[in-house]
């Protein structure tokens, strides 16, 4: 099921990815998420996100809380968030793939 992002979560907040830490506390365990799948799929993200800094337009996603990650990607998939590059990436991700990516990035370190 695809779920629309609640309107009250502002796009700006999500883009800043600032909510990650707080939401992380509520994150379900990563049990069941396919770690190898997450790692493979993550290489598509690393192309653009691998060298991000805190003030980049392309935000840091390494270490992002799982619930937040899932919410943002689904919002892009539902086109509730605007950037066509991300809408495009999210469009072909199934729920399990999003979960695998979220679990991967929750603990992944940014490449040095």
């Amino acid at each position: 099921m695809r779920r629309a992002m609640p309107a009250r979560i502002s796009a700006a907040l999500l883009l800043a990815m600032g909510g990650g830490a707080a939401l992380c506390l509520l994150a379900p365990s990563a049990q069941g998420a396919d770690a190898e799948l997450g790692r493979y799929l993550s290489s598509e993200c690393t192309t653009c996100h691998g060298a991000s800094k805190s003030d980049s337009t392309i935000p840091i996603i390494h270490g992002l809380g799982e619930v937040h990650f899932v919410e943002v990607i689904k919002a892009y998939r539902d086109k509730a968030l605007p950037n066509p590059v991300m809408q495009n990436i999210a469009a072909r991700l199934g729920d399990e793939e999003i979960a695998a990516l979220a679990a991967y990035f929750a603990t992944a370190k940014k490449p040095k």
Partner: protein
């Protein structure tokens, strides 16, 4: 459905590459030690593949990258150097981190591939054996596709379609122009490296002339194609920022490009003789010589590949990625090369170390700068469909977008450059 479902995975977890429709090869002769992967070409395609194979196999595969140059200057963002938005140094990267990532980097030219013996011969005669070879030599220019043009002629009429001295020559000539001078660009026929590249470059020419206060200078694009990438938004941008300065001519207008004369500086079409102060000739292209010599190309001049793996359809031990490959609907871009390299790296590891194989996923976005803070983009996702790489969810910038959005695109492109060069070179 293209999503990788858990059921799908159950099947693939058995390390069965045939489930992916890939030809299954007998395991390489591992008795002598680690399996060996050799990569020819240290650009976006080759360097990414070498790094990912070394990184993900954690030392289980011996990876050698063959690249003659000690540093790599990117063609991508070279137009921003032309426009004065970047310096040349910012486009140049070394292989230190590639080496640190566990790749043996050999700075030499591969002169031939002995496919029967499975070895690459280097300039000087050294032979490098492989279990799998990844070929990513980029493109060569077909100088004679424009009558009168040659490598020698490029010293006065630069192509600047391969990075380095050519790009610097183009900038020097551009900066020396006086008000009233004319620029002629001969654009390339399809398929070629970076579809929006010529038109971004023309935008940068115009920006430099405008900034210098030129009011009488003109730019003519002689195009062998009836249409070009992001045409609607480029044309809108040219009218907005550089009214009257840029004239694009398709074959119906110029009647045919007859050729150039490097001695007199002339460019001839069916209807007109030009004598511009700057001529930028971007000729037709084909896969790098090493791929052609090894018989990896077909009649198109590029290398046919299996859409699910980037494996050559000619030789099951060889993969081809980047500009040299025929990657279906994917454009020839650094983004595409990097994306294809990751798929090839995943399949090569699966073949050599029985690691898990996943369905191929490709993507691409190309940003182009029209004027300061006015940046447009085009992109899509790609997957193998019926044996060919097909696009889905394609998007392109629209006319009348807000200045804020275009400015955001520009910032995003700069962040993308930092991200992808770190992904390629470490």
């Amino acid at each position: 459905m293209t999503n990788i479902t858990r059921r799908h995975f159950g099947i693939m977890a058995g390390a069965s590459l045939s489930a992916l429709g890939l030809p299954v090869l007998s395991a390489p002769s591992l008795a002598q030690g680690k399996p060996r992967v050799v990569v020819i070409g240290g650009g976006p395609g080759g360097a990414t593949a070498a790094r990912y194979i070394a990184m993900e196999s954690k030392g289980a595969i011996d990876v050698t990258l063959i690249e003659p140059q000690k540093t790599f200057t990117t063609c991508f963002f070279s137009n921003l150097y032309v426009g004065g938005f970047r310096d040349y140094k910012s486009l140049t990267h070394n292989y230190d981190k590639v080496k640190k990532g566990g790749v043996k980097v050999v700075h030499s030219l591969a002169t031939s591939i002995d496919r029967d013996k499975k070895q690459v011969v280097l300039a000087g005669g050294v032979k490098v054996p492989y279990d799998r070879l990844l070929v990513a030599p980029g493109i060569d220019l077909k100088f004679d596709s424009v009558p009168g043009y040659s490598e020698k002629a490029a010293e006065v009429m630069p192509h600047a379609w391969k990075p380095g001295a050519q790009t610097q020559l183009l900038v020097k000539k551009l900066n020396a122009l006086k008000d009233g001078d004319q620029i002629v660009m001969i654009a390339p026929p399809n398929p070629y490296r970076c579809p929006p590249g010529p038109y971004e470059r023309v935008s940068m020419f115009a920006h430099v002339l405008k900034k210098k206060g030129h009011t009488k200078s003109r730019i003519v694009i002689l195009d062998p194609k009836p249409a070009f990438s992001k045409q609607g938004v480029f044309t809108e941008g040219w009218e907005k920022h550089y009214p009257g300065m840029i004239e694009w001519q398709d074959p119906k207008i110029h009647g045919g490009i007859k050729g150039v004369d490097a001695k007199t500086g002339e460019v001839k079409t069916d209807f007109t003789n030009y004598k511009p102060a700057l001529v930028n000739v971007i000729p037709a292209q084909h896969a790098g010589k090493i791929a052609r010599d090894a018989g990896l190309t077909n009649q198109t001049g590029y290398c046919p590949i299996d859409a699910a793996s980037m494996k050559s359809t000619v030789d099951p031990n060889i993969f081809v990625v980047g500009d040299a490959s025929i990657a279906g609907e994917m454009p020839k871009s650094a983004f595409s090369a990097n994306s294809q390299a990751k798929v090839a790296a995943m399949v090569i590891r699966a073949e050599l170390t029985q690691s898990r194989a996943f369905p191929a996923r490709y993507s691409n976005t190309c940003w182009s700068l029209i004027a300061p803070d006015d940046d447009i983009k085009v992109g899509a996702s790609y997957e193998p469909v019926d044996g060919a790489i097909k696009a889905s969810n394609a998007f392109v910038s629209q006319r009348n977008e807000s200045a804020d959005l275009r400015k955001q695109n520009y910032k995003e492109s700069v962040d993308w450059y930092n991200g992808i060069t770190a992904d390629i070179f470490g």
